[in-house]
Symmetry: C2
Subunit: 132 residues, 2 copies
DNA sequence: CTGTATCCATGATGATACTG
DNA sequence: CAGTATCATCATGGATACAG
């Protein structure tokens, strides 16, 4: 994994990793959460709003449209009354799950370490946003 | 207060994933790139600037400090002339690499598919930022 | 219920100039 | 070379009101 070792002190050639583009897939603070909450089964708009309480309708709509345009999520309008929409991950979108889970694992580990360090240090005030 | 699922089947109740916090590890557009370019070997400030041409010194400095404060990166000042600094990943920081690479893989795949679709569609103008 | 359109606050970034 | 300070800009997100 990783980059090839550079020969000397001189710069390693930028190996053009598609990182920037990849991360733009998860643009914004919520896209990963949306994908996460779609991982088990299709969800409706209102359900997602409930799953992710702090997301606004505007942003949720924007993320869903973006994910749909990129082929990661499908949108199916149900002919019910009142009308409802159901969102689901495409196989492509599903491929992001392992990566997201890997990030979540490392994140959890780091958070645990921080909490450990904080308790050792004596409960120093550390205003950090709560996860999820 | 449980959310009544539409279908009796279970489903993916909000499993409180530490996603939000985890992603904050990679805050900003450049942190993943910084980690990536440190993956092979320690790099100096100027080298990183060269590796990531479009990053400004201000942002690179900010990201490095943030990553350092979180225990993902170490900073070593070399007593040379002119002075230089060398940054390296900590074991903890290294744990992020598989996740980042997983994202990069999916991203690359998606980009390839887009390019394929674009060529089929006849090279439609699609103002997208270039990867890397 | 499912979105969308404004308006507004905030944060991240780049450019430039400057210090050690 | 390594880093910081200041300024201006732009994208993102929230709140609200409103539409289909």
């Amino acid at each position: 994994m990783g980059l090839p070792l550079r020969k000397s002190k001189v710069a390693a050639p930028p190996p053009a990793c598609p990182l920037t583009e990849s991360l733009s897939l998860l643009r914004g603070a919520w896209a990963p959460n949306v994908i996460w909450y779609l991982s088990a089964e299709p969800r409706r708009f209102g359900e997602l709003r409930h799953d992710i309480p702090r997301i606004s309708a505007r942003v949720l709509s924007a993320r869903l449209r973006e994910l749909e345009s990129r082929g990661l999520v499908t949108r199916k309008v149900l002919d019910t009354s009142p009308p409802s929409a159901e969102y689901a991950l495409t196989p492509l979108g599903r491929e992001l799950l392992p990566a997201i889970e890997a990030l979540a694992r490392v994140g959890r580990k780091l958070i645990d370490q921080w909490e450990l360090g904080a308790s050792h240090a004596g409960a120093r005030s550390r205003p950090r946003r709560v996860a999820v």
